[in-house]
Amino acid sequence: MNIQDPKLSARTGSIDMAHGGGGRATAELITDLFQHHLNNPILNQGNDAALLPPAAGRLVMSTDGHVISPIFFPGGDIGSLAVHGTLNDVAMAGAKPLYLTAGFILEEGFPLADLEQIVISMARAAEAAGVPIVTGDTKVVEKGKGDGVFITTTGLGVVPDGVHVSAARAKPGQAILLSGSLGDHGVAILSRRENLEFETEIRSDSAALHTLVADMISAAPGIAVLRDPTRGGLAATLNEIARTAKVGIHLEENAIPVKPDVRAACELLGLDPLYVANEGKLVCFCEPGDADAVLSAIQAHPLGRDAALIGTVIEDDAHLVEMETEIGGVRVVDWLAGEQLPRIC
């Protein structure tokens, strides 16, 4: 496609139904906005499907829809989040991410300037991660049938030989490591919610974790479990693992890093940081003998400076996550009931 006379005005224009109609307006949107910013040789093939070279190893694939509100928040936006979220899902298999795809659902009336800002943000995040967005899709829905923009991304990656990361491999005795402080993303989003706006320095921790994972795997290829505690927070992630692997988990509350601002906001809003979403943190289960090496590897990475050993895997027929509290009592850390915060990612 070669549009000679681009009519797209990113400054003043907004999405209308024609942009999804498949005609000239659609083509303009694709070339002038998406292709222009996401520019890479595979995307530029310009076919309906991206043709990829053969991959060396076992493939992993993951997909994730992003509906976050607000779409721009301290520390990121729906675009960077859509890239990081899916890269992280691929990385949590111990994989090196290779390619991304992106599908956009746009609501009629959505400002093109905002869309461009989001696409630029995706392009930057993808470039920083070294993972190109190789194909995509755009649909437009009538006003009132969406909420600005929804983005679904899919990621494809390859797992190095000898790496077998899976929740089912959690075993009693293993050490549980957390790569940094909890709750930054959820609190940053909340601070910008209508009716709730409050002043805070907290920024979302949204980040791509695959280089951190690569460092950890070179330190200890036998890492058993990797997970990024997003929706539902650390509590949901650990309960999922305990249930899958049929083990119990013991945590030390005093060992779990939470930034003072995040803790203060959680106190004020009645939230528990264990249940608040993260977008740039991971938990890792490894053999106790590997714990020091893995912890050092995490702490040596810019995204893992505050990493800590937070607990151990124990035997428990009830598959509970329990925690020694700050004052030295014991409580169960249950699944979240209902929804603590809607549309957080």
């Binding site: 803790r263 106190e267 009931a337």
Partner: protein, 384 residues
């Protein structure tokens, strides 16, 4: 976090725990009712019971605003939203409480009623301003802590002439409820509930002061200690209650001196007095009808009283049969005594109000798993 983490310090907790073990008379038991759901939550959230000797136990009182609201008032709120097509503004806690036939506000919302969750009365006022052609009703619940903000909203609405704004008032009072529990047959005749003393509410008392509890302490001979909501507050207050009992005293003492005075917040009290009048009687879930235990909006502000503004039809409201919330709220039963608990009734599928609010005893039992750790694991060794 300054001024909070100090009250969660592990070493301090150990030393208070040691003092309690040292001073509690092994020849007797100490049963304390924490009136307030905030304390119930703190006790479970931090595992305070683990740091107590076996003869010191907590009993969970009715101080959870969501829990004590009778089903009929919830059904009335649903009616206001559905039949009168009003925008009903509510605190989030209330959304999932099941009404008659399991109909909650969240269910009514899904069916098309305009029910909005707000974080403060100011949000409700804003919704009124933004929707001048709609009736906007604030579903006011809570003890003395949440009453002043409702009074402020009513006065502000009057000042702004917000003629579409009204309040469905369900504010209740703490001291009459404490007296009611102490007078009840459970305590007086049947002996089904043994209360040796009360952990008094802290936030409520920051408004009303510690003075209003003095008659109950005096008449019934039960010590009351106003306790902060942090775990060390609860532990220190427990020690103060034990000391009073050991010394044969029954006074109102104040552990939460950083927030509560004997007289309370006089400005807030005056504001509440201006806007609200005491009801002759009000129904509480669990406690039944309690005289002089709730507030209504004064005639001078009748224009903002949803009960006067809307015709609310009489109804046969009904709780789920065999839900033990009422007995649990009186301290007669524990959540684990209820046959619905943890089977059909969980925080995901609540059958009664005590499983909904984070301040409810059932939700605390379930979420923090006291019953699970206790039954499944050996008792932890003494902390000190």
């Amino acid at each position: 976090m300054k001024y909070v983490s100090e009250f969660r310090d592990k070493d301090l907790a150990k030393s208070v725990s040691a003092a309690i073990r040292r001073e509690a008379d092994p020849g007797r038991t100490y049963n304390f009712m924490e009136f307030c759901g905030g304390h119930t939550h703190a006790i479970f959230r931090y595992g305070v019971q683990d740091l107590m000797p076996d003869n010191v136990a907590y009993m969970h009182g009715p101080g959870c605003p969501v829990c004590v609201l009778p089903v009929r008032r919830l059904d009335d709120a649903v009616e206001i939203a559905e039949r009168h097509n009003a925008i009903l503004c509510t605190y989030g806690d209330m959304m999932r409480v099941p009404g008659t036939k399991q109909r909650s506000l969240i269910r009514a919302k899904a069916d098309g009623a305009d029910i909005r969750m707000v974080y403060s009365t100011l949000d409700a006022l804003k919704i009124s301003r933004d929707n001048p052609d709609r009736e906007v009703v604030f579903f006011a619940i809570g003890f003395e802590t949440t009453t002043p903000p409702t009074a402020v909203a009513i006065k502000q609405a009057q000042k702004e002439d917000l003629s579409n704004f009204s309040v469905f008032c369900n504010h209740v009072l703490t001291p009459p409820a404490i007296a009611h529990i102490l007078q009840s047959p459970d305590v007086q005749d049947l002996g089904t509930v043994e209360i040796d003393g009360f952990l008094g509410p802290s936030h409520v008392s920051s408004v009303i002061g510690s003075k209003p509890y003095e008659p109950a302490a005096e008449i019934f001979g039960k010590p009351v200690v106003i306790a902060g909501f942090e775990p060390l507050d609860v532990m220190q207050s427990t020690l103060m209650l034990i000391r009073q009992i050991n010394e044969g005293r029954f006074e109102v003492e104040n552990e939460y001196t950083r927030g509560v005075t004997r007289e309370g917040n006089l400005k807030a009290q005056a504001l509440v007095e201006e806007v609200f009048d005491t009801r002759d009687a009000f129904e509480w879930r669990g406690l039944g009808t309690v005289a002089k235990s709730a507030l209504k909006i004064r005639e001078a502000f009748a224009a903002f009283d949803a009960e006067q503004r809307f015709e609310i039809s009489p109804k046969q409201s009904r709780e789920v049969k065999s839900c033990e919330c009422p007995a649990i709220l009186r301290g007669v039963k524990k959540p684990t005594d209820c046959k619905l608990f943890g089977k059909v009734c969980t925080p995901d599928t609540p059958m009664g109000s005590c499983m909904v609010s984070s301040e409810g005893a059932c939700a605390a039992y379930w979420t923090y798993g006291r019953f699970r750790t206790k039954s499944a694991r050996p008792q932890r060794e003494a902390a000190a």
